[in-house]
Amino acid sequence: MDNYKKLSEELLKNDGIDPANISDSERAMFEQLLDKHLISEQKTVLWRIIMKSNIMKLAAAAMIIIACSTGIIFWKSTGSGIALGDVLTRIEQVSGYTYQMKTIVTDPEQRGTETSTATVLVSKEGDLKMTVTQVDSNNFQKPPDWQNSTVDEEWYLLPTSNSIVFIFHEKKEYSRAFIENPKHHLYKKQYNEPREIIKQILNCEHKSLGQSVIDGITVEGFQTTDKAYQGGFFGHGETLPKKKVDVKLWVDVNTFLPVKFEEDIITSGEIEDIRIQNFIYDFRWNVIINPGDFEPNIPEDYNTTLGGDIIILDTNEENAIKGFKLFTDSFDKYPIDIQRSGVDYGINSGLDPNSSVMEQVNKMSEEEKTGKINELLTSQMPTDFYKMLVKENKEPVYYGETVKPDDSSKVLLRWKLEDDQYRIIYGDLQAETVTKEKLTELEAALPK
């Protein structure tokens, strides 16, 4: 059967079809069709449910009047259990919502905890604002590079304006990053936002806990203990291996909306056995969003923690070239190992590989800090681009060990586009698409 799989792939390639990739135009066509279908589907499903029985038809008219006036549409449980996909669809219909969140972090040595409470506001478009309202540090020994929570800390995750902003009012500081690609994963792992939680649960092994009653509301519970679950706290849960995952969600059987969420994750590895518990509750649905709710208000006398605005670049050919150029402008050579371009840049530019990068950067002047962070992010681009090509099965090959800057005829990096088409970045950082035959000639001419 493996041979047939290989045969299948080869047949597709002979027909000019990439078995692992889909063209932009095809994808755009599909997305348009899907958009139309989902919009019309949402309109028809409610009618299908309401019009199921004659009894319901009489009530339907009254319900719709109520629904229109309050902005809330009531879904009726089918009685056979809730599908989490339906809960997701339901949330996506809501105009805006808030919830309370309590987070308990237990330090690596298990000596103390930090408990913070926050109010979160989420818009229909996916913008999120979190305000920390209470912090209680009980013997908490923070891990390296960990910032303690502070009261009145505000987080803004704003995909509609391509930005992420943190404001620390107690310290009169802020951080701001602009993100080139609005689909960047940083937005997707928003801080325990219910839509993301449900998507993650759906992608994991999970089970129903059956029905129960919470605060007088009949709910159905769901649980996952799958270690593939990626915690909502971006950059933390997803990068470190997990010892324990226990995630529970309870949904109102009548409204199909979440009522309560609990997450208990223990990660291991670089930061030994740190435990994060999250509790989300007190949901308010269809709240009114005011125009200024998602505009970060940074007072003029606040300082930046990063020295200035950081740009988080999209992973693409153009930015990989920028990364290569930065490297050669600084050191007149290419990184020997493309998977360490950012690390080697940092070391070659004077950073101590045995100490925390942020600790070293924070000792710099404000002006130097922003520049250094943006440089490090840019120098990382060749690595990120290469890894993306590998993941997409584009068969990248890198020759930075033997190719010098300005080598206009030598292949620095190449990858496959289609069966007989390859993309090349030359030593002088010009890029070109060539045939397989041409690539073979060029690679044969490279120094051994």
Partner: protein, 178 residues
Amino acid sequence: MESQKQLENIVIRCKSGQREAFEQLFELYQPRLKYYVRRLNSNSETDDILQDIWIKVFRKIRKLKENSSFPIWLYRIARNEVFLRFRQNEKFVELPEETEHPECKEDNYEFSAEDAQKLHNALNKIQPYHREVLTLSFIEQMTYEQIAEVIGCNIGTVRSRIFYAKQSLRKEMERNHG
């Protein structure tokens, strides 16, 4: 290719209207579906046909009873869409029924990955009804039973059709490449 369980999970999520599940399905099947549709008709109409196929998938997936039979269901839709367009354009020619050949019971010839280019060229030259069964066999690695469900005939017919199709294909490959 996703495991059976993963595929069923994706189908279940599609049924509940989850966008990302539809996108996953598209990623999984679009390349092979495109190949199959191209083998049944000229390239110029492939994109239109594929659009119609996906629209039908969106509309009807909730009615799919057995989640595990999604691939068969999908290719039935694809086949019907192609033949519908052929009938509209009066290009479609009904298939002759082939009697089961006594040697059909076992078919040991397996085409390797190295044969791929020759095979691909030869596939375009054999009869459409032979091309169809071979495509389903090579691309989706469907069993005879599954192919029978897609094309709506009995297993004996599939068996003989594949036998004659492979004969036809081998002749074409030998003719072109010695």
